[in-house]
Symmetry: C2
Subunit: 363 residues, 2 copies
DNA sequence: CTGTTAGCGCATTCAG
DNA sequence: CTGAATGCGCTAACAG
């Protein structure tokens, strides 16, 4: 049994509960009393904002250690204006891309001595809204969020009041929020151009819901590249499940204008397509060439290695978080937010038809 | 200089600031005043714990909506005993396994109306300790943690006091904490037995640091299976980087007792090994058979598909979180915690030498 | 350099 | 069924 801090005052009168506190966590006034100073002195020593004589400082520190005193952050946050916490809302945590974003955000927060309250929206605007409110009730100093479906998101300045918010990966309607994106359209366009250079004329875009900003932006880049080459677009937006995707692929491949190359909108669809392709015994790149949006850990070890557009997930999270801490530090709420667009890279492996022994990265 | 909230009533008598409050967030007494009731009535209506007359309730609710009043969770947490938040510490977020665990924990927390404060330890006991303290200062109602290096972790009951904590994926020394694990040893053992059934006699275990509980436990299972079959163990524990792993594999494979099969300790090492194997042009399973610990999204699409031990990541997180909320609800601090061990599955694909067209899952 | 006073927003007393 | 008083732990603002 470890000695509880309060044990020290066990013999005191009960009415003075304050001084009694057997198993209570020590408070600042416990420290003050033990050190024979006022609470403000303790506060000052702890925060280090104001000069306190060396001798007093010493006494306080000794008392702190003796009592194993830890400041109550809750009281501090409640009292002051800052909670030293930020909120983070992402669609899912099991998607490595989002997890990487989250990792970066938490790292930056840690550098600033901040806690992060995390939650997932499951791409649902209502959940997202409710969670944002919840965080606001907790008085977070700011929020970083990957907004859900573009047109439906209920995240607005009026909801947040003067709490700074930065959106990333996907924009929000409200122009007063900062937003950090990647070159979705340009990335898609370039990789389609690459496919075209390989001689492909019938390239299909296989996507998830077009109501997701990124999926749509990538489609736009794809379509642009096709148009510029005088080619017809061929896109689907309902590769929602493994089964659906399989069915869709089957239809496509058995039509008379079967695509000779495929571009997927994101890693989830990549997986579905890979599964379907394996199921039908289709060979990449001989039967169809393949390129995907978003790189992933094992993309180099699939059969064949996958050509992809690589997004700087961590970088995006980092930039978003820095932007937020910037806002927090300046305490200003801008009329119009920043819009930062990060570059993507093309990673040429072999699924597109390239013969490189090792990946070639083009930035 | 940011505008302080008080600026607005600069000309007013300072003493009555409370009743003026133009841009301040509405508080409970604002609502009370508007509804013409006492603050306690508002509190009661909001928490719904005590009966309040229908008419009064109505008035309060109207006032709440009119003022867009949102309770201050910080004040509530500070005042009451519960902060309605839990802490979650995991080694990394970029590892899909840990991210999945985290996802499950946050989901359960959401069901309970709790917020989760997340942070990463980077497997460093000091960081872990500091972060745990930090969370304690924030008065989380409980914590779920994946402890770092076994013998070095500084997480003890005395640190947490009466705050419930459950460890998962890896145990802690302190027997009073609950812990949720998976069958690491049994899983490794069974997959090694499978490799042995394929006729392998020289099976190597390639691991990360043995100071990580899971890596060590899996090694023990491996060794046991080898011993039972009268085979010699052959293990390394320093596949720390891609380069190191490549070097190690080269040595191993060029020795005269080169292994005919490999088992990796976790997905990270799997990736390093796959990379090295590709680099040297070694073929799986012809030149070496392969099995890995921990399944991952794309394991089915590597060349060849990978035979692995699958851990129930989400399930583990869910169970751990439920255990925690159980503790929180009962408010008890047990002398000795529960120890729950979850089963693993063996997923037979083709890297082990099996010829299955589709994965075979053995539980 | 140090101490005293006051109050953040809420919910637990205890009286009506 | 409702309200008034009180204080959670801390720090800004003012004394000394």
């Amino acid at each position: 049994m470890s000695e509880a801090p309060g044990t020290l005052f066990l013999n005191r009168s009960k009415r003075r509960a304050k001084t009694l506190a057997v198993h209570r966590k020590p408070t600042m006034s416990d420290v003050a009393r033990l050190a024979g100073v006022g609470t403000m002195t303790v506060s000052r020593v702890l925060s280090g904002t104001v000069r306190v004589s060396a001798e007093t400082t010493q006494r306080v520190q000794t008392a702190v250690e003796q009592l194993k005193y830890r400041p109550n952050e809750l009281a501090r946050a409640f009292r002051g204006q800052r909670s030293r916490s930020i909120g983070l809302i992402i669609p899912y945590l099991y998607d490595p891309f989002f997890a990487n974003c989250a990792q970066a955000v938490t790292s930056v927060a840690k550098e600033h001595g901040y806690s992060v309250i995390i939650t997932t929206s499951a791409e649902d605007p209502d959940t997202e809204f409710a969670e944002a409110e919840h965080m606001l009730e907790r008085h977070v100093d700011g929020m970083v969020v990957i907004p859900s479906r573009f047109r439906q998101t209920r995240l607005t300045r009026s909801l947040f009041g003067k709490t700074p918010v930065v959106a990333f990966d996907r924009p929000v309607q409200d122009p007063s929020l900062d937003v950090v994106l990647v070159q979705n359209a340009a990335g898609a366009r370039r990789i389609v151009e690459h496919l075209i250079e390989h001689g492909h004329k019938r390239i299909a875009y296989m996507g998830l819901s077009r109501s997701l900003f990124t999926i749509n932006a990538r489609f736009l880049g794809y379509r642009r590249a096709m148009q510029d080459a005088g080619l017809a677009s061929d896109a689907v937006f309902d590769c929602t499940t493994e089964d659906d995707t399989r069915r869709i692929l089957k239809e496509k491949m058995s039509g008379k204008d079967a695509p000779t190359a495929i571009l997927t909108s994101n890693t989830l669809v990549t997986r579905y397509i890979l599964s379907a392709i394996a199921h039908f015994g289709i060979r990449i790149p001989n039967d169809v060439a393949f390129a995907g949006f978003d790189d992933f850990d094992m993309a180099e070890f699939t059969a064949p290695p996958l050509t992809v557009v690589r997004q700087p997930a961590q970088e995006m999270g980092r930039v978003a978080a820095r932007l937020l801490f910037d806002r927090i530090a300046r305490g200003e709420t801008p009329r119009t937010g920043n819009r930062i667009v990060l570059p993507v890279e093309i990673v040429l492996r072999r699924s597109c038809g390239c013969k490189h022994r090792n990946p070639v990265v083009i930035s």
